[in-house]
Amino acid sequence: MLKKGAHIVLECLREQGVDRVFGYPGNAILSIYDALYDYKDSVRHVLMTHEQHAAHAADGYARATGKTGVVLSTSGPGATNLLTGLSSSYMDSTPVVAITSNVTKNCIGKDSFQEVDIFGISMPVTKHNFMVKDVHSLADTIRSAFAIASSGRPGPVLVDILSDVADNECEYTPVVPLKPIRPLSADDIDFAAAASLINESSRPMIFAGGGIIASGAGQELRELAEKICAPVALSLMGIGCFSRNSEKYAGMLGMYGTGTAAACTQDCDLLIAIGTRFSDRSVPLPESFATDAKILHIDIDPAEINKNVPSSISLIGDAGRVLTELLPLIADKQENPLLRHLQKKAVPFWESTGGMRPSRLLETLGRVAGPNQIYTTEVGQNQIWAARNLPVSGPRKFITSGGLGSMGFGLGAAIGACIGTGKPVINIAGDASFYMNLAELSTAVTYRLPIVEVILNNRSLGLVRQIQKTACNGRYSEVDFDRPTDFCALAKAFGAKEWKIEKEADAEAVFLEALALGGPCVIECTIDPDEPV
């Protein structure tokens, strides 16, 4: 059947089971948006206020659902605006396909209006990218893009389509896409060696990351921890893959992690790392990390083995598949001296300033919201408080920009997660992060999304200010956001409900009301700028 390129794009999205896309139109992408008009019932578009947040929304959608998120944008500035979103997705290995339109073939390379070499620019921050210059390769390119984004270690893929390609016609035949590949390269010798290592250890511990969530391997992780009686520490990206309520939960490992997790790594004789890349946040000083222990590194990406931390043995493959093969080879352990570290009472990190304590507020919020709540966060102190204090009960319920740490990620991601799951989402934000994305409140209102934006307002760029306190002797350079902005009036102006909490005792009632609302709202909490994470 003869079809125009623009329609082929939409048909290919339907082939992939895509029913929601996030985006922002423009001149170069006109034909695709015109085609979108004919697909209103099958591919529904969410109009954001900025392409960056459209990319974050596609990313949040992917993280919350496990499906590939899709973002559309026009050429030039529309495409460059995607870069922060694509980089966030790249750093956290999430499946996103970005479709951009470029100028016509005749205009390429001549500094034309809204022309930018997005193919070249996005190369370093995508898993792969394509530039389509001929309509005959369009369908297969889009199919490849989806396959690459979702198989192996997921990642963002960009497809740049020249605008005359969208207007040209060619034959189109639908193709049913193959299931994403869950690879396994480790062989029997590797598994035998790994099993020996585990069976010979007396103080093993587990360090689990985002790879467990990407693989859906929470059950296998639980079984392993039970079998070898091991404490489990999580990376930021792993939060939700292991139950906080388990007596084996050691907390988050790393720069802002728990003392318990750190003590376990110092004391263990075997560290089993699964689906984590030992980032410099988890392991700031690789030379002094777990020096008395052997490391078994299980990851889907061979390039991560021995990149940051040297391992004794590695198993390359999808986490769930590896653990399924490994579990039968491992002997039960009845005890583990490391578990005594988990019995010690958690010591509070710092004295509070005397103002409202974010830890208490978030604990209350978590209690009121219940175990199935989905959270997104911005970046900085808000993110650390959220990681430490929210009772995240399962995978894909804690969505945060870990690798890139992009402020402004949270609200767009919340929109994506909400659209994807149909469930209410709470975004934990700081005031500085909120300034980066506040216009998306209008999107939440327009699409009637049950999103609660909790702004921990300390009128400053909190985490940078906290670091300046010690590293720069309190020379607070350019971290002052003490502006006369009335966040509640702002929320109201966008059409959202608003509350302001100034006393911890008032929090519970406000949270109850906000969550019962079933619509977008803003809760501003006044926090002292000196309140540290």
Partner: protein, 165 residues
């Protein structure tokens, strides 16, 4: 411990593949001494020969990061017994008096003279980079005007070859 390594990489012959690979090296901070690329007998694929300097850790990382690229089909490390060649063109000042000396050097090194003018000579040599360097050193007394060198091309000896399976 750092040393020179040479990789032969078979890549899909797509627009932008050279940019993608050199971009990878740039952003990961790898030290590339030279890079040559040319089509193979199968026009769908090109062969890149990459000369790098670093530790074994760097070599392992480079191989693994290259393998992640969709357009990279096969990577091998070229071992020391392989055949290595680099093409060098050197233009030197050559008057009637000094011409004989230059020709003598060319004979010793099995180099040839690609161009001769009343004042200059351009020498062409294809050999190991170390041999090319040696000739360059000896030619310097004549006054080198300019030098153009390619990167390394390398093939394993005997039956061994870079295949797709």
């Amino acid at each position: 411990m750092e040393r020179k390594y040479i990789l032969s990489v078979l890549v899909q012959n797509n627009a932008g593949v050279l940019c993608r690979i050199s971009g990878l090296f740039g952003r990961r901070g790898y030290n590339i001494t030279s890079l040559t690329v040319g089509e193979t007998t199968d026009s769908r694929y090109s062969r890149m020969t990459i000369e790098l300097f670093g530790s074994e850790y760097i070599l392992e990382q480079i191989k693994k990061q290259l393998a992640k690229l969709v357009e990279v089909e096969k990577i091998t490390e070229v071992d020391q017994t392989a055949i290595f060649r680099e093409l060098m063109l050197v233009k030197v000042w050559a008057s009637k008096g000094s011409r004989a000396g230059i020709i003598e050097l060319c004979n010793v090194f099995h180099a040839s003279i690609a161009d001769l003018s009343t004042t200059t000579a351009t020498i062409e040599m294809t050999d190991l980079p170390s041999k090319n360097n040696a000739l360059l050193d000896l030619l310097s007394e004549y006054g080198i005007i300019e030098v153009a060198r390619t990167g390394i091309a390398a093939l394993q000896r005997g039956e061994e070859y870079l295949s797709l399976d």
